[in-house]
């Protein structure tokens, strides 16, 4: 699956809440498939995207809203060598969220750091 050894910086931008729409889930599916390509992957969570990582999500096909809880999959990312996960500082603050309420370890970036990260990318995927 490798493309002649080309390694690009891929950024996945997640700005949408889970369950209300499918973007969070299908974005994660791209990241997992993409991992086989051994690119330099980062994921950022901005705006309602930070809610994707909230701990204690509870729903299943047969209970609650009738959709499966896919939040545990974020924990599997490490096994795919996807370890650069960033959350937007302001988005966390507006929502009163702290990093220990999230399912995976993340790095908090302020506005300037987030802009810098984006600028360093070769490919930006947003859903």
């Amino acid at each position: 699956m490798e493309e002649e050894g080309v390694v690009k910086k891929f950024l996945y931008v997640n700005r949408k809440a889970p369950y209300g729409s499918i973007y969070a889930l299908e974005s994660l599916e791209v990241v997992l498939i993409g991992a086989a390509f051994e690119q330099d992957v980062s994921m950022v969570f901005i705006d309602d995207g930070v809610y994707q990582l909230k701990k204690d999500q509870q729903t299943s096909v047969s209970s609650g809203i009738g959709m499966k809880d896919f939040s545990k999959t974020y924990r599997a990312l490490e096994g795919y060598d996807v370890e650069k996960l960033y959350v937007d500082k302001k988005s966390m603050e507006e929502r009163g969220l702290s990093v220990d309420e999230l399912v995976v370890p993340v790095t908090i970036l302020d506005d300037a750091q987030m802009g810098e990260l984006m600028e360093q990318q070769d490919v930006v995927l947003s859903f």
Partner: protein, 100 residues
């Protein structure tokens, strides 16, 4: 009259328009991503708490729980409901308006 809001107040203006245009005494149900408006500790907590003086506000628990929240996270004064009670809210209000 029952108003339903299924959008996050961070993402769209649905909740804000609903709060501006609904009349005193109306009921507002927050569900789907709309539940983010019902949570403690957010930048919308004050606005929504104030709105409780004018409206009855309800929130759908299955949507709260799916998103990793619990009753403890819900602003005091907001009534938690399940799908059966959502049905009751529709039955007991003569009109329903969805703020999509």
């Amino acid at each position: 009259m029952l108003h339903t809001v299924n959008k996050s107040p961070y993402e769209t203006n649905s909740l804000s328009s609903c709060l501006r245009l609904a009349r005193k005494g109306h009921t507002i149900l927050l569900f789907e991503n709309g539940i983010y408006g019902a949570l403690k500790g957010t930048c919308f907590e004050n606005v929504v708490t104030d709105a409780l003086n004018k409206y009855q506000i309800c929130v759908l628990m299955p949507d709260i729980e799916a998103r990793g929240m619990r009753v403890d996270n819900v602003i005091t004064g907001i009534k938690t409901v399940d799908y059966a009670e959502f049905v009751d809210l529709v039955a007991s209000n003569s009109t329903v308006q969805a703020w999509l």
